[in-house]
Structure formats: C-alpha cells, structure tokens
Symmetry: C2
C-alpha cells in the first residue's frame, strides 16, 4: 500500500483508509497516518487542504465507482420485462458485495463506511448526501413503484435501514474472527443472499 511506486496522494489515501477503519476518523491522527504512509506530516494539508477534506476524498475514491455500478445494475434490472423487489435489492447489494471482494482495500473501505454510519458526523453526512444522495433517490423511486402502499417518508426510512444493515453486515464488525480465509467469499455471498431476503420482507411489511 505504501510502496514507493505509488504517489504521495495515493499513499496517503491508502493509509487513511486503513487507519480510519481501525481507529475511526477522530481516532486516527495525522501523525500516525503520515508515518504509515511514509510521507511528511504537512503532506496531508498540502495535498488535501485539511483532514476533513481527506476524509471526503477517501469516500469519493470508492463511492464514485460503487454508485455507478449500482445505477448500472438498476438500469439493467428495469429494462427487463418483469422484475421483482428482490432484483432491485440485488442491484443495490451486489455492487457492495463486489467491493468487499476487491483485492486492494475494498473490504477495508466498507469498514470505513460502517464507521461513517456509526459516527453520525453531520459534516460527513452532508457530504455523502450531496454527492451520492441521487443514488438513494433512484432506488427509492424504483422501490416506491413496487410498493405503492408506502408513503415517501416511510420508504426512505426503510431503505436507510437496509443500507445501514448492509454496511454493517459487510464490515465484519464483531468480536470473533473468522477462521479460513478461503470461505470468506462464500460467507459474504451467503450474507448478501440472506440480506436480500430479509430486506425484501421488511420492505413488503405492513
């Protein structure tokens, strides 16, 4: 991650992802971060302006791609003659699953995402809402068309819960460590399947 053939900005982003996942945003100091990335302390402020903005860029690097994949998958689903609620959910969940299986830090980033959910950071939430809120909106519209009995507010709330549960489930938050690295992919896929069934039932409720 900190190999010399990566640029300073890339090394900082990589180290930030690791340390934010491990220690949280407030808990990761720029001194430890820059030491991990093998760059000068001032490099973060030079290249990113501030620590807050570095946090933003850590998200942008991954979420641009994730959002695009989700919207593509949704479009593909909607082009089919008949599609189910489960199909829409899969369009939302599978790209996240793919991200966790990414070789270079995808799983780490999902843990950072889970942090963001837990931290309730107003500034960060605003950034995510402004930059990726439209994805949530598209999916809300798709879900809403399948679930006419739900009003808009109720629908948004449930989608939000699902996004949170997904993030948490993918983030490996827990006390016990898993044993064989081999079956990790299968575990995650199973989790995604369960999640889709669970979320579909939750959305259809009432």
């Amino acid at each position: 991650m900190n190999s010399p053939h990566f640029s300073t900005k890339e090394r900082i982003l990589g180290a930030a992802e690791e340390l934010f996942a491990r220690n949280g945003f407030a808990g990761a100091s720029l001194r430890e971060l820059t030491a991990t990335a093998k760059v000068n302390l001032a490099a973060v402020n030079y290249h990113f302006g501030s620590k807050d903005n570095l946090v933003n860029e850590v998200f942008r690097r991954r979420l641009d791609e994730l959002s695009a994949h989700r919207l593509e998958a949704l479009k593909a689903v909607q082009s089919k003659p008949d599609f189910t609620l489960e199909d829409i959910l899969a369009a939302f969940i599978h790209p996240a699953l793919l991200l966790t299986l990414d070789k270079s830090g995808g799983a780490t980033f999902v843990r950072v995402l889970a942090r963001a959910y837990a931290e309730h950071n107003e500034r960060l939430r605003k950034f995510l809402s402004e930059n990726y809120g439209h994805v949530l909106k598209e999916f809300a519209a798709a879900f809403g068309a399948q679930l006419p009995h739900l009003d808009k507010e109720e629908l948004y709330w449930r989608i939000d819960i699902i996004a949170g549960a997904l993030t948490y489930a993918m983030a490996d938050f827990g006390v016990i460590k898993r044993r064989a690295a081999m079956s990790e992919k299968i575990h995650r896929e199973r989790a995604a399947e369960h999640l889709i069934r669970f979320a579909a039932a939750g959305l259809r409720a009432e």
Copy 2:
C-alpha cells in the same frame, strides 16, 4: 437528566450516556461532559478515577440489568418441554427491545452500545468480555444444542453477527428521521420480529 436532585455521579453518568451516543467516546470531551452535567471538571476523575473507567460504568449501569433479563428469559425458555431456535433468539432480543423502550435513556444507551461495536476499542471489548462474556456463552451453549452441525467457532461467529445486527438495528443509525413518535414502539417490535426470523435462517444455514 441533570436535575439537581440527582447526585453528582448520576448526573455524570447521564451526561456521559448522551454525549457518548452523540459524539463517540473519544469525541466527547470531559469539559463538554462536565458542563452538560453541571459539575466541576475534576468530578469525573474524583468519582470514577478516569475517563476510561467512566465509560465502563456507563455500560455496567445498563448491562447488569440487560444481562440478567436475558438469562432469566433463556432459563424460562429452556424450562419449556419443547422450544425452538426462535424462542432462544427471542430471549436474547426481547430484553434489548425492552431496554430501547425504557423511558430514561434506554434508547440512548443502545446507541452507545452500537458505538462500542463500531469503535473496535480493545480495552472496552476486554471489559465487556470479562464482565458479560458469560451471557454470550450461555446463549452459545443453548444455540449449539439446537445446531449440532455447527462447530464452536462458526457458532460464536454467527452469534456475534446477530448481536451486532441487533444493536445496529435498535440504534436508529441512519440518515432519515422517523416521523411519528407514536408508532416507534411498533416499529421496533416489527424490527425485532424480522430480526428473529432473519437470524434463525442465518443460524440454520449450511
């Protein structure tokens, strides 16, 4: 919460619960905390020794009762002639549901619990494991008896995921705010029902 008829220790614990839920453990400073509790800055170190120990006591105040309720419920289930996996899950989940419906800060505390999961704090995990690990062990034994095909490690891992999902689901982590306070109880009960079904399927898998 900070009314003068509460003792200094109780006012500190109340303010700590609120601020830990809102800002995290590292994010809540003793200066803001003691100002909220309307006590002197030094009062935390005088009454609790350190900030770390204050964190412990915030958990102890709620978890002693929650753990007792869970073990009682488990015992009641096991005394029945025939009981299902869902019954055991209900013994684990319903006491947590009751806690969130508690009038004086129960819902706030569950958000603190969710923080603990997200923060991966080693010191705190050790404290929780040492003081409340036996509850998890009891439930693991009960689940294990129903699921002989799972080895111990796999079983612990799944229980851990369930505990995390429960905490997260109960903690109202999400972007969208819920509308009417009236239906909050019903929402939580629904969530608990879904969670039980979801977790039962997850445990039985493979």
